[in-house]
Symmetry: C2
Subunit: 231 residues, 2 copies
DNA sequence: ACTTTGCATTGATATTTATCACTATATTAG
DNA sequence: CTAATATAGTGATAAATATCAATGCAAAGT
């Protein structure tokens, strides 16, 4: 299913961007009219770094990975996006291009909203502008801490932190299927895939986690937190 | 010299934050009235991560280093701030605390402007809000690229990039005194101070740069760019 | 002048991490 | 079912980087 509008109102969408609460009902109606919707299969690209930020994108279902394209094709996964997460990035107010790429990890339904409309609300509606500022500020802060972690922690610390963030922030459970391959877990934690395997095995041997097929279970969260904190 | 106001108007300050151009003359007057000014000697802390973002800070003269406080007291220098650079950070719209620290590298004169005033203009003046969004977006993007560089490039690439950014973005000249110690150059480029020394020596031997006392001269910028680009 | 202190520099060494080569195990396409 | 392809896993090795232990050097204080 894809196409325009589908007579659904963004104001009643349970997965809407929280900042849409700051829009008037007229603005919401206008927004809903200009909404496009499209489906992506797991593995498909939703948008690529370098493409124009013509639309703000939100997932209404599914999970996607948000990553920077580095040198030699190496990637850094910044975040896993769930419904409610604004996919547009800081390039929107700098050079109107995306600076990260987004790829569906599961099957995904995505809403596309004309960026000019968003920008016009920023100009007309100060609370909406403030909400946008809060959104981008929060994401900036996350990047600060991600950078500190990647630069200063050693591999076991980064791996522990990655597993904790998957459990607490993404899946909300201590037993989860990360969907990410070992390669992608490496892109999330800044290490080669072989080292992901080795460190996870070590964590298993020490009884900190266990794995069953593709499912990871955190057995000793306190220890994992300790490893994450000690770098 | 320190204290309130001093009858100087932020509207005519050549070092004012560019976004102040979006304020009305009344707003500028009000801003100027609520301005505090204070001097810092080289090495003095202007504010620390964790402190409340009660004021937006701008330098009217001098240079300061902006850095993250990492683990084990290790630091990451994000930027060198010159006049015109908003020192407030993304914490302002998240938890009202600073997430980076700022220390004067030279003697500095700093202006403190009540953050509630800034926030009130964001709510009242959409163009000012948009300017704020642009500011924080640009800084976010810089962090993206800084992170990629620190995570994916090897030491010579990071060192080359650091020297180029000092020359082009901070000092605007190929011969400059970085003011930063070797330790601090390491915090800027993500390496131990000993490795800063070794790589700079290597660059000297290859005729890419030369050093005279604390002055660094870039001799072969193209080669430096190549090293930076190749990681 | 003489100590003290901090930074710069150097070489040796240890640690961390990536890479390579390969096997095993799935998973998918025909 | 079987070949083909992708991912997971393993061990050995090489490369990158940090750490340690000295030494020199220069500014600042007494």
């Amino acid at each position: 299913m894809f196409g325009k509008g589908l007579d659904v109102c963004c104001g009643s969408c349970p997965h809407a961007w929280p900042n849409f609460k700051n829009l008037s009902s007229d603005e919401i109606k206008e927004l809903s009219k200009h909404r496009f919707q499209s489906n992506f299969s797991a593995g498909e690209t939703i948008f690529k770094a370098g493409s124009p930020t013509s639309s703000a994108v939100f997932l209404s279902s599914g999970i996607a990975k948000v990553y920077l394209e580095g040198f030699d094709g190496k990637k850094i996964i910044l975040n896993l996006a769930k419904p409610g997460y604004l996919l547009a990035g800081p390039g929107n107010y700098v050079d109107s291009t995306h600076h990260y790429s987004v790829v569906a990890l599961t099957d995904v339904t995505a809403c596309f909203i004309d960026m000019n409309l968003i920008k016009s609300y920023v100009r007309k509606n100060p609370m909406f502008a403030e909400g946008y500022l809060k959104d981008i500020s929060g994401k900036s802060l996350r990047i600060f801490y991600k950078m500190m972690s990647l630069v200063q922690k050693k591999m076991p610390g980064r791996m522990a932190e990655g597993l904790l963030s998957l459990a607490d922030e993404v899946y909300g459970a201590d037993e989860f299927n990360p969907i990410l391959s070992r390669q992608e877990l490496g892109e999330l934690t800044g290490m080669a895939k072989e080292n992901v395997v080795r460190i996870m095995k070590e964590f298993c041997n020490e009884g900190i986690i266990s794995t069953n097929g593709s499912t990871i279970t955190i057995k000793d969260k306190d220890k994992l937190k300790l490893i994450s904190a000690n770098g």
